[in-house]
Subunit: 454 residues, 2 copies
């Protein structure tokens, strides 16, 4: 017999806005991580903030869990509806609510993806530069405080948001900010809801700062003998004050993988990838200065992309690194996401390589070296529990070491399911305050239950 | 008879760490605003986080209010101890706890001022660029989410902070973040405590991001016939993507004032002041491009400072604008601090000039035009209640109009006493959430009571 609250949802929304089909329940049971899937009981497709409020009302009355879903490209299981209940899929709430090029602002619904958004705004000379790799939804990126390759220049998702519209568990609809670029008024709820992974409220609108598209962009790459040298080189570039637009590290193991995957013919050494952008003269001056500094540090294979096609190819290769590991028959991938003060990077990258070597598993180290943030990609045979354990052990050791080095267990993927166990080690006494906030805003624990805190 | 809790403070701290002298009570009764002074019953000078915890313990047991005090350069009365009690002066907690040039980070105690900090770190090629004008304490700047002339390039105070050490009302000592440059772990308490004006906890350490000192800096200025033209010109510069380091508007009335005050000989027209900074070639390219754009918009008196002395003089003049109004015998100053989406600036600046003209008072409009943030400086005779009312009326009308234009009543000064009445209009349903947070963290309303919320 269909549960009352499911019938209520079906009666309240339009027929095609609810699905209990096996394929939809499966699609909303997992993300791109290796966390165990859990299916929701129903998937709802709201088309407006009013729909979200209606869903929230029914969920609250029936004490049923609500878990928001963007495109499912997350890496820590945030969209997995642990307590079943309702998965809210935002793909129909993908409109631009208000585009204000004259204010360098855009207000969007959570379901629009970053490429959909850029497709519309790029023609106005504007960009939304945050690039986590996947074509994630803006709502998902806000909920996890995503960042990626351009954070070294533009900051993280939280830095881009001036206002959120949020539906609270009690049905309240509120705005966390205004459309002003800065404000010292009231408590900073925008920052609080950003990165809260759907546990404090459901985001229904996001107002983002936009940036001009730089006049000129130069991509370059070089290699070093050791990951340690790469980290030191990145550190030198940062201290020099050159405002790199991207600065990425990929170790030799991952380069070899992606060469096989995409036939890129990249030199199979520990590599740094750069992007310099701005007015033409400035970008060229910066690239020249970077080359000089890197040459002093004994870099090899310095190469500037000859044209925009070669530039696109380099970044395509960089983004396919994770897939290169993933697309091996029978293998599953687990990934770390540590972030530490810049000077601690060489040590932590060396440690990561040691752990991978000791484990006997195949894995790479790559990441956003200018932010002190890197990922591991460890391939294991999911049918072999000892391999899975060994893979998890690598990331666990890395996370604890990162915290010891005054860093964080997650630079950009979020806590979700995978990083819950590190919250006490990382945040200490602050965890109690966070839990109190959760209790205050969601006393019945209906909003994405089981995430961030056990 | 001395109150028990005062005796307790005197017995717990060293003799010279407590003062009830008339001069100290007066010094801690006011800031630089025209809000009515209220004296504390005692001023404490903690020398360590342990001292702050001890003070908090005694205050909690005796239900006495605590109000933190930096240097008293605030403009909204945040340091005024409305309910008397204890003023905590941080001038002895002014050490650098840890300077990590290799991580572009510094951890400081709240009492250090921004010039003291820069004096120490500048020799390492690093700077802390946030510049609200006054030589404010870093603790005060964090508590109010200060910004100033360089926010257009570097962002606001909240953007610079990766970690705060905070003593809560219940005595808990916590860290809100880590030393990593970015993180997606846990709720963003750093952003929440930043700008909370001492109402949620007492900040005892702040870890700040540092920035390289640009190789080359160019200062320039130009004039326009109308404030409206200035706002449009600023808008054009922003859209061009030129990464100005500063872009300030000063209206002709204020230029005339500061010429009298400091004999600067500036052209007495509505003016824009610029700073371009970076590598030499880049800064020169940017200045040249700006000149071209501004010339197309009919700017006059384009002038590039010939040397660093002239550059320093220009910014000294800009910073003295407020003092130029203030230093008129018998006159008091009240100032607005509105911030709106950039495209709304021309309209709001025109409105400000109209209101000032109608009032018959003397006043100027000036501010951080690149952020959409500007201030009024209205001079009135404090002995004439009708003048005071007229001055307040100007700022009130401006604040409400800014909110109507989807902006904020305070871009950088904070709420304190002066902007409390606008909180409902600006934040709507979010005010209830903010008040619940205040209740959760400070159930007995001992932390800077009467600020932000009545």
């Amino acid at each position: 017999m269909t549960k009352d609250w499911i019938t209520q949802l079906q009666n309240t929304l339009k027929a095609d806005q609810c699905s209990t089909s096996a394929s939809e329940l499966y699609r909303h049971s997992h993300d791109e991580s290796d966390h165990a899937p859990v299916e929701p009981e129903i998937v709802c497709f709201p088309e407006s903030t009013e729909d979200v409020k209606a869903i929230m009302h029914i969920a609250r009355e029936a004490s049923v869990a609500i878990t928001p879903f963007g495109v499912g490209s997350g890496l820590e299981g945030q969209v997995i509806p642990l307590n079943a209940g309702i998965s809210i899929n935002f793909e129909r709430m993908n409109r631009i609510v208000k585009f204000s090029p004259e204010d360098l602002l855009v207000t969007v619904q959570p379901g629009i993806t970053r490429l959909q958004l850029n497709h519309i705004i790029n023609r106005h000379g504007l960009q939304f530069p945050i690039d986590p790799g996947a074509d994630a939804s803006i709502g998902g990126m806000a909920a996890t405080n995503a960042s990626g390759t351009t954070a070294v220049r533009y900051g993280v998702m939280r830095d881009q948001i001036v206002d959120l519209e949020v539906v609270l568990a009690d049905g309240t609809l509120l705005h966390t900010g205004t459309k002003a670029k800065k404000s010292s008024s009231g408590y900073h709820l925008t920052g609080l809801f950003t990165g809260s992974e759907g546990t404090l409220g459901v985001i229904t609108e996001i107002t983002l700062k936009l940036h001009g598209i730089p006049e000129h962009t130069i991509a370059a790459s070089c290699t070093f003998e050791t990951p340690h040298q790469c980290a030191e080189a990145a550190h030198t570039i940062l201290l020099s004050g050159i405002p790199v637009q991207r600065m990425e590290f990929v170790d030799a193991y991952s380069i070899a993988k992606v060469n096989v995957y995409g036939n890129y013919g990249l030199p199979e050494k520990h590599s740094l990838f750069f992007e310099f952008a701005g007015m033409k003269g400035a970008a060229e001056e910066e690239a020249a200065m970077a080359k000089e500094l890197l040459t002093d540090l004994d870099c090899e294979n310095w190469r500037v992309a000859a044209d925009s096609e070669e530039r696109a190819l380099i970044w395509k290769a960089r983004h396919e690194m994770a897939y290169a590991y993933r697309h091996q028959a029978g293998m599953t991938i687990t990934g770390g996401d540590v972030c530490v003060p810049i000077s601690k990077l060489p040590e932590l990258i060396d440690y990561a390589r040691e752990l991978i070597a000791e484990s006997g598993l195949e894995g790479g180290v790559l990441g956003h070296i200018g932010d002190g943030n890197f990922h591991t990609s460890i391939a294991y045979d999911a049918k072999d529990p000892s391999q899975q354990l060994a893979a998890e052990e690598i990331n666990e050791q890395l996370a604890y070491r990162a915290i010891e080095l005054e860093g964080t267990c997650t630079g950009e993927h979020g806590v979700g399911l995978g990083k819950m166990k590190y919250q006490n080690a990382e945040h200490g006494a602050a965890v109690a305050v966070m839990k109190n906030m959760k209790r205050m805003l969601d006393p019945n624990n209906l909003l994405n239950p089981g995430k961030i805190f056990p």
